[in-house]
Every structure is written in structure tokens, then in C-alpha cells.
């Protein structure tokens, strides 16, 4: 390994949010003239590490070093002065301003206190030429496609002549041509002695472009080594593998022959050409990296967003539900991932939350029977082990108990198909265990469960089959026998050939 002094380094940094450790004693050093890959699954701590390096967050312990010297108060302006530029996943652009005005934003050349437009034009053009942006500089950014905006974002970083360039999944919205231009550009910047940190979920890109790799798993660095001599399958193995302990219930097949959901050539939102069949009594997992369209698949089935299908059968009736009430009467229930915004009405009592789906089915002007409601709610609370007074606001519950309320409220409808969107996100271990047991119990009771999850072990241990989604398509349907974390992650990241070889 080259022994040059790293321009930017983190030494043993740790960071926790609300007591949950996200990074534990992680070190990384970005050296001039090297493209450094940062890999890890969803939630492994990559974004947190970037935020520490760019000064947006401060580490709980450990130090950030610039040019070998520890900086005590790292902040975004400090980072900018040190020549650190970050291309974030969420764009920092302003749609109503032109390309040039966006590129120079925050660092305009001035003359007599005014923005020096001729100088801005010259410098912005130089940056645009580097990334192959040939639209007129006066074009408002709002008129550009997402891929072009990403290129503007990169040009904006280059405009500041950085010494360290951090790119967080820069290619996720780029076309093949744009990706090629970016790859060539990064090679050139590297040869000019810039240190580059490259985060990507596309392993082929990483293998081709990077010289060094750091792998994070659950906030711990599992590898910090040159990429030479590692193959994609080896990288995947470094990212996955967690001891499941006794978190998961025993898995027994309760699958029946009855078809609960069957769609072909289904399309909704980002999803295209989905053929999927779910039998009563089975748990079908939906896996993949975050934001590949998985949620649209559930919402489309649920009638919450417009969806099309060549043919569809749901719970013995043909056709997709046109709206949510129709989906409910046909036996579908959906539990959203964001329980605070979509799943619950936090300021209202638990009992009201539990009764909402039932209200929807009552005649609009029928008088409510408080006693009956309370009785039903008590029954649900008992069945789901929801602790506490049901008259309190739902926001008083812990995350885990909130999730149980979001799930329990559908039970009076006795849904035949449960669509669950990441039901264990932000839930404590004990509740996770309870939810897992419930899911298997639902399946055993003959319900069909569709489980969208960003947690790979969950998919492996709970599901009969897992559909892996990438870029809006189901690219693999793994049967129980083939299920493993490696297989799911490899498919999600597009490393199939290595999986076959391994």
C-alpha cells in the first residue's frame, strides 16, 4: 500500500443515534490518487460515515484528520475550505435557477459585489465540459432529466476544485453513456492526485474503477484492503452474515395450493413486468436495495397508486382493486413502513387507531357503540400483547408497540392477504421476535403474507420465497432451498455470475 499521507481520514470514529450505535470504531483514510470504494448493505452506516467526513455530523468518539492533523471542530464550511466536496444522493440543486447559477451557488465569482456572470460562465463551462454537459448554461435545472441533474451536481462539486471528492451512489440515475463519461472523468481526476470516495451498489463498477475498498457491516468495518485479488462474491460475503440467534421462529411450510394473489405483466409506479403468484399460507418476501420500486409493487396491489396488469386474480376475483376501500373489501390489508405518518394517527387514542378500518366499513351515519369498540380493542390488544391504557394517544407507545397497533387494526376485517412494508424497521429486538412469530402464525392460519423488507436475514428466515427487485423489475425469484443472504444481496447488486460460480 502506498504510504502517502491521507488527505482526509477518520480514526476510530463511533456514532450513535438515540442510543443505537450506527458506527463503531471505524477508520478510513482517503489518499491522493486513489479511488476508494465504500460498500455495505442498507443501514450499514455508509451515509453516517460520509456525514462525519463532510462535517455534517460530529463523531461521538474518534477523530477526523485532514492532511494528517486532527481537526477539533469539523463542520461543513471547514470541510469546504479543506477542499472536500460531497455529491449527495439527494440533490442540492435549485430547479428555478440555471445550470450555471446552480454550479456556482455558494461560491459565486464577484465583481463590485455583484455576481460576475462572464467569469461564472467560463468556470461553469469548464466544469460542465468535464462531465459532458452540453446543454446551454442558461437552462433552468428544473427542465433537466434526473440523470442530467446528477451530472450538474457533479459539475458543481468539480467547480470548487476539490482535493477530496465523495460520491454517494452517483450512477443510480445515470444512463450507460453518462456512467461511462463519469468513469473516465474519475480516472482522470485520480491521475491528477485527487482522493475519491466512491459509494455504489453496482459491484461491477466498483471492481472496474476502484483500487481500495472499505466494507461496513452493521457499523463495523469488516474489510479495509486493496481491491486486487478480491472478486464480487468475496465482497458480498464481507457485507452479509449476521448471527440470527433465536430471533426467528421455526420455519415450517404452511403453503397451500389455493392462489391468493396472481398477477402477470403487472406495472405500477417504478415497477414493470412483474409476474407474481402468492399462495394462501405462504410468506413471500420482496427484497432488494432501498428504493428500487418495491413499495410501488405493494401500493399497486393495494389500489393506492394506479396499476396495470395483463391479468390479475386477487382472492378469487379477477382484476386489480381500483382503490383502497375496494382492496379492503376484497381482503387486502396494507401496513405502511412509515407508521408515524401513514400507519397511525399519533395524537389520537390507541382505541381509535385500532377501530379506524372498522369505521370505514360502517354505514356513515350509524351511531357508534363505544362498549363494543372497547371490547374489540381489548381483544386485539390482548392478542397482540399491546401494553398500556388504550385510551392514551398512540404516540405514547414505543415504536414496537406502535407497529403492533398498525398491524392489529386490520385483524377485525380478517384479511386474506397482508401486504407488509418493512414491518420491523426501527423496532426493538423483543418486538421483532413477536412480529416474526405473528407473521408465521398468519401464514399457518391460511393467510397470504407479502413481506417487503430491507433486512436481509428477515427474508431468509421467514419467507417461503423471495422476489428480489432491482431497477423496477423482479430479477430473481429465489425458492426456499436457494435462500441465503449472499444470494439475495448478490442478486440485488447484480452480481449473479459470481453467485453461480461460488
Amino acid at each position: 500500500m502506498a504510504s502517502s499521507v491521507p488527505i482526509l481520514a477518520a480514526r476510530g470514529v463511533s456514532k450513535a443515534f438515540f442510543g443505537n450505535p450506527v458506527l463503531r470504531s471505524v477508520s478510513i483514510s482517503l489518499e491522493p490518487g486513489r479511488v476508494h470504494a465504500l460498500l455495505g448493505e442498507n443501514g450499514a452506516g455508509k451515509s453516517t460515515l460520509i456525514n462525519l467526513l463532510s462535517g455534517a455530523l460530529r463523531p461521538d468518539s474518534g477523530t477526523i484528520e485532514i492532511d494528517g492533523k486532527a481537526v477539533s471542530r469539523h463542520s461543513p464550511p471547514e470541510a469546504r475550505r479543506a477542499g472536500i466536496a460531497v455529491v449527495q444522493q439527494e440533490l442540492s440543486l435549485t430547479n428555478s435557477l440555471s445550470i450555471a447559477e446552480n454550479i456556482g451557488l455558494g461560491a459565486y465569482p464577484r465583481r463590485f459585489g455583484l455576481v460576475d456572470y462572464p467569469a461564472l460562465a467560463a468556470r461553469a463551462k469548464a466544469a460542465c465540459d468535464l462531465v459532458g454537459l452540453h446543454e446551454p448554461l442558461s437552462t433552468p435545472v428544473g427542465e433537466l432529466s434526473l440523470g442530467r441533474r446528477q451530472m450538474v451536481e457533479i459539475a458543481k462539486a468539480l467547480y470548487r476544485k476539490p482535493r477530496v471528492l465523495i460520491l454517494d451512489e452517483p450512477t443510480s440515475s445515470l444512463s450507460a453513456t453518462e456512467t461511462r463519461i463519469l468513469t473516465t472523468l474519475l480516472e482522470k481526476l485520480r491521475s491528477e492526485g485527487i482522493a475519491i470516495l466512491y459509494i455504489s451498489h453496482r459491484l461491477d463498477e466498483v471492481m472496474q474503477l476502484c483500487q481500495h475498498v472499505t466494507v461496513l457491516k452493521d457499523g463495523i468495518c469488516t474489510a479495509d484492503r486493496p481491491l486486487e485479488g478480491v472478486n464480487a462474491a468475496g465482497l458480498v460475503r464481507l457485507m452479509v452474515g449476521r448471527d440470527p440467534g433465536d430471533l426467528f421462529p421455526r420455519w415450517d411450510s404452511t403453503r397451500t395450493e389455493r392462489v391468493a394473489v396472481s398477477v402477470s405483466r403487472f406495472a405500477a409506479g417504478l415497477m414493470r413486468d412483474v409476474d407474481l403468484e402468492v399462495r394462501a399460507g405462504e410468506v413471500v418476501g420482496i427484497g432488494g436495495l432501498v428504493g428500487q420500486g418495491q413499495e410501488d409493487l405493494l401500493l399497486g396491489l393495494y389500489g393506492a397508486i394506479p396499476a396495470k396488469a395483463a391479468s390479475a386474480v386477487i382472492h378469487d376475483a379477477a382484476g386489480l382493486p381500483a382503490n383502497v376501500p375496494q382492496a379492503n373489501t376484497r381482503g387486502l390489508a396494507y401496513v405502511p413502513a412509515d407508521r408515524k405518518r401513514e400507519g397511525l394517527h399519533l395524537i389520537h387514542p390507541i382505541v381509535t387507531n385500532l377501530m379506524l378500518p372498522a369505521f370505514a366499513r360502517m354505514p356513515a351515519l350509524k351511531l357508534r357503540s363505544r362498549a363494543r369498540e372497547r371490547e374489540t380493542a381489548m381483544g386485539l390488544a390482548l392478542q397482540f400483547a399491546i401494553k398500556g391504557d388504550l385510551g392514551r394517544a398512540a404516540q405514547a407507545l414505543s415504536g414496537g408497540n406502535q407497529q403492533k397497533v398498525a398491524l392489529a387494526k386490520w385483524m377485525p376485517l380478517d384479511p386474506a392477504v397482508l401486504l407488509l412494508n418493512d414491518p420491523t424497521r426501527g423496532v426493538d429486538v423483543e418486538t421483532k421476535r413477536e412480529i416474526y412469530a405473528m407473521l408465521r402464525a398468519f401464514a399457518a392460519a391460511g393467510k397470504a403474507v407479502v413481506l417487503l423488507s430491507s433486512d436481509t436475514p428477515e427474508l431468509v428466515h421467514l419467507c417461503d420465497r423471495v422476489a428480489v427487485v432491482r431497477e423496477g423489475r423482479v430479477i430473481t425469484l429465489l425458492e426456499r432451498g436457494e435462500l441465503s443472504e449472499e444470494a439475495i444481496v448478490a442478486a440485488a447488486m447484480g452480481a449473479e455470475p459470481e453467485r453461480a460460480a461460488a
Partner: protein, 323 residues
């Protein structure tokens, strides 16, 4: 985009003008409507194209144009003000009580401007630094400012120097000249890094902050400028009426929002242009005049005004959904 070929790669010196030309695209439709109303008004009122007719018309438009600008500056930052009318009143009573006194016209003007800047900046600090919702802060502010105006001048009265009233509200196009100067000053402000940051600070504050934009400073400056424009409008209104009235500005709050909406300014921040807002305020003034000449009763005028404003918001929305 597809029309990129129309403007081939601009020479570096002309980038500014190319951007300005681009900004017209969104408001072309509005300009056409304004022109149509202008022609209709010209037919109804032949005096429009004489010196005094033009002067009178621009004088009726001028205060509305100023408060529309004051509102739009805030809307561009993602804020809004319900204190515009109260500030106009305060400006008017300060002008009417000081200008014929020992402070004189210069001193009175300076005081009006200082009060506007000061109250605006204070509102800005409260909204931006304490992170309170602008609509609530300015609503509360409007009560306080209206109270202050009543303290200065409990009932209509005071006086303006007659020569100033004749200059600003007589038969000269001085008001139009002042408006041109104000617009040029705005263009100048928008060409400074702080002014241009207004758009980024309103539309994508997190991104702007990450890019090194002084987001808070840009927003507070906007509130200060907005306050200045409001009390300035108040001074003009006092000159028009020759005296001060502590509630004369009341109608300007909602009219400023109406003009901004007609001008295509979005409520989410960073959407729209000042030229659109000026055209919107002009349209509103023309609408009122045209309906007056057509003999609409005041009630019918208000209903028609409301329908036109809803239409102005709905049409772009429908067009966007159809795309």
C-alpha cells in the same frame, strides 16, 4: 431540452441575458393577458394614452406593485406576510405626521424607510432564527403594527407637503419613474450573491446550506427589504390622499397575495419571478379599472376578481397534470 437549438451555446458575456430570457418563458402567457386587458382598458378609457391619464393609471397601480413585490420576496423564500397592510398604514401615518414637522421631507422619508427596514428585519429574525411559522408571526405582527399606527395617529389626519403630493400623485408620471428605479434596484440586488441565493434558500434550503449559501442571512434580508417596500408604499398612499389614515393599508395584505398568485408565484418557495408578480399586480389593477368602466357593481367586482384568481391558479395546475 428540445428548444436548446434555438439558443446555441451562448457567448460567455451573454450568460446573464440568456438566463433573463429564459425566465420570460414562464410568464409569456401572463404578459399576453395583461396586454389584452390593457387594450380593453384603452378602448374603454381613451384618456389612458394622454400624459395625465397615464400618470393617474400608474399612480393607482404603484402602491399595489410595491406591496406585490414585498409579498413576493417573502414567498420566494418560502414565507408569507399578513402584516403588509398594517405596515402600509404605519408608513402612511409616519409620513403624515413628520413631513410637515421639524424633520421635513428628507427626515420623514428616512424615518419611514428605517421603520420599514427595522420592523421587517425584526420579523425576519423572529421567523428565521426562532424557526416560527411566518404566517403566525406576521399575523401577530400585523396586530402590533396596526396598534402602533393608531398610537401615532388615532384618527385620520396629519398632513403632507402639497408639493410632494403634486409631484407623486399629480399630473406627472413621477410614480412610474420611481417604480422603474425600484425594479432596477431589485435587478441589481438579484445580481448579488445574496440576492440570487434567495431562490436556493426558498426552494431547497438544505441543499443551499450544504453549498455554502448563508441561508438565514438571505431570508432575513428578504424580510427587511419587504418591510421597506411596504412603508414606502405607505408614504406614497399618504401623498395620494394628502393626509394619514391609520387603517388605509388594510386591503393591501390580501391584494398583495392575489397579485402574487396571478403572477404565478408558488407558495412553496423559490417558484416564480418578480416580473410575473409585477404583471400580476398590473393585471389586478387593470381588472379593477376595466370592471369599473364596464359598470360592474362593487359586489360583482369582488366575485369576478375571486373567480379570475382561482382560474389563474387552476390553469397552470391543470396544464402540469395534463403533461
Amino acid at each position: 431540452m428540445s428548444d436548446a437549438s434555438i439558443s446555441p451555446h451562448a457567448r460567455s458575456g451573454s450568460l446573464y441575458w440568456a438566463i433573463q430570457a429564459r425566465r420570460n418563458i414562464g410568464v409569456r402567457g401572463l404578459f399576453v393577458v395583461v396586454l389584452a386587458f390593457m387594450v380593453a382598458y384603452g378602448f374603454l378609457f381613451h384618456g389612458l394614452f394622454t400624459g395625465s391619464g397615464f400618470a393617474k393609471f400608474t399612480q393607482s397601480w404603484f402602491p399595489l406593485a410595491l406591496v406585490a413585490m414585498a409579498q413576493v420576496i417573502l414567498m420566494l423564500t418560502g414565507g408569507i406576510s399578513l402584516a403588509i397592510g398594517a405596515l402600509v398604514s404605519l408608513g402612511a401615518v409616519i409620513a403624515a405626521t413628520t413631513m410637515t414637522g421639524p424633520l421635513g421631507v428628507a427626515g420623514g422619508t428616512a424615518l419611514v424607510c428605517l421603520v420599514g427596514l427595522g420592523i421587517g428585519a425584526a420579523t425576519g429574525v423572529i421567523v428565521v432564527r426562532l424557526r416560527l411559522p411566518a404566517i403566525v408571526v406576521t399575523l401577530a405582527g400585523s396586530f402590533i403594527i396596526a396598534g402602533a399606527a393608531l398610537l401615532v395617529l388615532p384618527r385620520p389626519g396629519g398632513a403632507m407637503p402639497p408639493w410632494l403630493s403634486d409631484l407623486l400623485a399629480g399630473n406627472t408620471p413621477a410614480a412610474f419613474g420611481v417604480l422603474v428605479v425600484v425594479v432596477l434596484l431589485w435587478k441589481l440586488y438579484l445580481a448579488t450573491p445574496l440576492g440570487l441565493s434567495l431562490y436556493a434558500a426558498g426552494e431547497n434550503p438544505v441543499g443551499a446550506y450544504r453549498s455554502g449559501v448563508p441561508v438565514d442571512a438571505a431570508r432575513i434580508a428578504a424580510y427587511a427589504i419587504s418591510g421597506l417596500l411596504c412603508t414606502g408604499a405607505g408614504l406614497f398612499v399618504a401623498a395620494q390622499t394628502g393626509s394619514g389614515d391609520p387603517i388605509i393599508g388594510n386591503s393591501f395584505t390580501l391584494n398583495s397575495i392575489a397579485a402574487a398568485v396571478l403572477g404565478g408565484i408558488g407558495f412553496l418557495g423559490g417558484q416564480g419571478t418578480m416580473r410575473g408578480a409585477l404583471a400580476g399586480s398590473l393585471l389586478l389593477s387593470l381588472m379593477i379599472s376595466v370592471m369599473f368602466f364596464l359598470g360592474f357593481t362593487p359586489v360583482a367586482q369582488y366575485v369576478a376578481q375571486g373567480l379570475i384568481i382561482i382560474g389563474a391558479v387552476a390553469i397552470p395546475q391543470f396544464r402540469m397534470r395534463a403533461r
